[in-house]
Symmetry: C2
Subunit: 471 residues, 2 copies
């Protein structure tokens, strides 16, 4: 039974934490960024140290007050907004932003969980290294939230998801004890991997307060190209060819649909596309190569071989860094155009790579039957991760489809399941997909998750209602 | 309270499993491969399917019979030998060896847990792919054991440890339920990552029965070189240089000590070294490059730049595949020479990369004080993983040091702790290092591990005594 963070609780916390830890409660801590949900009230604290965070969680544990961790607030599944809870204690990490140490010779950096991703990228850059995690919200997303949601982004193909970039974590567990897991080791087989359990647990098993992150050598040369492909099958074969020709230098392989480009043309006429005629399908290929290689040449040779094999029909290779940036701008502004059009339902799905073309055909045919939907399927094809978004027919708006949202969502996810895919590739469960997890998740997995949650957080104070339904 | 697999239990199991699942109990199921421990007796079964394994574990759960999973039997920490238990049920996976499916376009393969690593490597090779896990025991180690111990090996620098090569697992949990986690997805953020919890849990949280494994494109070109370095500091700077110059094509970077080469010269005079005079320190560098690159040229340029920077004093670059194999033979026969000399104590340790040279100096000076020890420190420098083995002075044997083994071990591990390292880099805890885990492990981590173990296996039937002391 959870209890609210009432005056008495707050008074106790004020007696044990410095005054600076208490912050005015701004609306962003209570509102889902797209307005999808809203919490009533909260007690907000911003600890400056792991020890202060542990003090707060011990107090919450002892009083059975729900705790909602808050990172950059950019999550897309409502995990950061404590709706339907007795007045929670919201812990924002915004005062824990220090890069504690950098180790260039180790390709490692230790940082507090409140650091913003762009600052961590910069800290790596400052020692001539790369922290490869990169996503649209990197200017505001914080490391703790990125770890807690195991964020993806555009470089997963080469460098993996967030969990692959983490050597160790420091965290406050639900009982207020501090897990000292900040090891900078590439190998450490000493018991269960709690790091990987906390990563992706969305704050339900503890509060991540710091992390030891893997850095990479910075590629000496970068390059990019848009290749027009006849269909997703060809895109997949092109991916295979690129992996064999370029090896690990393939940083990203993004699928772009003609529908997405058309939405851009409709809603942002200032944006320049590298094609006069919009193709049905294109891929954006990005390379990062060591010194000595020339990305333009590699891409030209790839194009020639792919063209001979009938996998590409047109293409343009960036001839400068500015042109590469322009290519990426097209890719990164797809979501913006989507918002301007207004989707009925968006789906962050993943599929076994070889199932992607069949999925697209089958889902398109099922959803297309009614004849009044448009689909923009785009995303990280290299990872089998599609953002599969469904839009109104021209001239109509999302509100016209309000009564069909649930059915459309269910249709898409049912087909995803048929193809052994996942209904949440990189965004997580949060509070918005708890029902989907219960419906589509493996019952054995869910039972084990509940057992682990009860074992580590028997009172259920950590981010209740996220991932698992509160009890 | 655990109970033995007695006649009644066996009769029950025989009634519910095919006769072929019962195998004669050979000594290897009871004896630690180096003779370090021995179990008294066991009931052995070899299920042919996941369902048969689940039936057996349900029966064991219901009767509170301890279960000991058995893979290839090559573990080095006694995890596979159920000593000091009421007569356990040993489950060998040797009849579950099928590659269930290969997906070349996805770089994925699904295999049963009893498959031998070399066969999995071959299955990948047959579809022109690479399964990069590679270690000395690959001819007998089985996938289930490799996953359960999160095995390391020689290619971790480039491809990560075993856990980095696993997309999904199927496992029988301690209650006999089957976790259907065989997803072939690169991204799947739907709840706690049970895959990573089972990997490295050494059979204490369930029995892994199958896995979806990541494959890689096969490097088009391979090459290797031995470079002589003045000291480990130079080796570390050379590693950094190699990573920047070669990028991700650096497959392995192994440190070899003059002492190790001397042991080979003393005990295996047939083995040819690429140097006339044995160096104090050398590194074996291995490259895997995409088409178009020439490893010999890359290595020559690396040598030239390293020589100019004073990082290398001599070197030899393999001019053929046979020569590359010969270089690797020197590396891979170091343990054999060690065995012939007879170590007093061996330590599979890891360190933050930049701490390796200081560790070697400090540990060497502390252990060297008595003047009657020889040290062979070698291993996967690229991963900060050293095999730090202590030997008798010339003319003496390990038995002369029997009363000092504990002190030497403690001295090494204490220094490892001072340098924020790990006392078990790639071998795991098993039954031989439970005391070290209790002594050197983070108490918060241990408490969380015990809570998770109790939650998933309240009766404690799965591999009791491994990793965590039985209760």
């Amino acid at each position: 039974m959870l209890t609210p963070a009432d005056d008495r609780f707050e008074a106790g916390l004020r007696a044990s934490l410095p005054a600076a830890a208490f912050r005015p409660l701004e609306p962003r801590y209570l509102e889902e960024p797209r307005g999808l949900s809203r919490a009533g009230d909260a007690l907000l604290i911003a600890p400056a140290t792991t020890s202060e965070a542990a003090t707060a969680i011990r107090a919450a544990q002892s009083a059975r007050v729900p705790v909602v961790p808050y990172g950059g607030g950019t999550g897309l599944v409502g995990g950061q907004i404590g709706v339907d809870l007795p007045r929670p204690l919201v812990i924002t990490l915004e005062r824990m932003t220090v890069v504690r140490a950098t180790y260039p010779a180790e390709n490692t950096l230790v940082v507090e969980a409140g650091a913003i991703l762009a600052h961590v990228q910069q800290a790596a850059h400052d020692i001539d290294r790369l922290f490869p995690l990169s996503l649209a919200s990197e200017g505001s997303a914080r490391i703790g939230g990125l770890l807690s949601t195991n964020a993806g982004g555009v470089n997963v193909l080469r460098y993996g998801t967030t969990r692959d970039l983490v050597l160790g974590v420091e965290a406050v567990l639900p009982d207020g004890s501090v897990l000292n897991g900040l090891k900078r080791l590439r190998k450490d087989n000493t018991g269960y991997d709690l790091r990987h359990l906390l990563i992706g647990a969305e704050g339900t098993l503890g509060l991540i307060t710091a992390a030891a992150l893997r850095l990479m050598p910075r590629p000496a040369q970068q390059g990019a190209a848009f290749f027009v492909v006849p269909d997703p099958d060809a895109a997949l074969r092109l991916l295979d060819l690129a992996q064999r020709r370029v090896g690990p230098g393939l940083d990203a392989f993004e699928l772009i649909s003609g529908q997405g480009l058309q939405f851009q043309r409709d809603t942002m006429p200032d944006l320049r596309h590298p094609f006069a005629d919009l193709p049905d399908w294109a891929v954006l290929i990005d390379l990062g190569l060591p010194a000595g290689a020339t990305p333009e040449t590699v891409l030209e040779e790839l194009f020639a071989e792919a063209h001979e094999a009938g996998l590409v029909c047109d293409g343009v290779i960036a001839q400068s860094g500015a042109q590469r940036d322009a290519f990426w701008e097209v890719r990164e502004r797809i979501p913006e155009a989507n918002r301007r059009v207004g989707s009925i339902s968006s789906h962050d799905i993943s599929l076994p790579l070889s199932a992607v073309p069949d999925f697209l055909r089958h889902a398109g045919s099922v959803l297309g039957r009614a004849g009044d939907l448009r689909i923009n399927a785009f995303g990280h094809l290299g990872d089998g991760n599609l953002h599969y978004n469904v839009f109104p027919a021209p001239g109509r708006v999302r509100a016209d489809y309000a009564d069909r949202v649930a059915e459309i969502k269910r249709t898409v996810f049912d087909i995803v399941r048929e193809f052994d895919g996942s209904f949440s590739a990189e965004h997580g469960i949060g509070r918005l997909k708890v029902g989907e997890l219960e419906h589509y998740g493996d019952p054995t997995k869910l039972a084990a998750m509940r057992a682990i949650k009860s074992a580590l957080d028997p009172a259920g104070i950590m981010n209740p209602g996220a991932v698992l339904r509160g009890t």
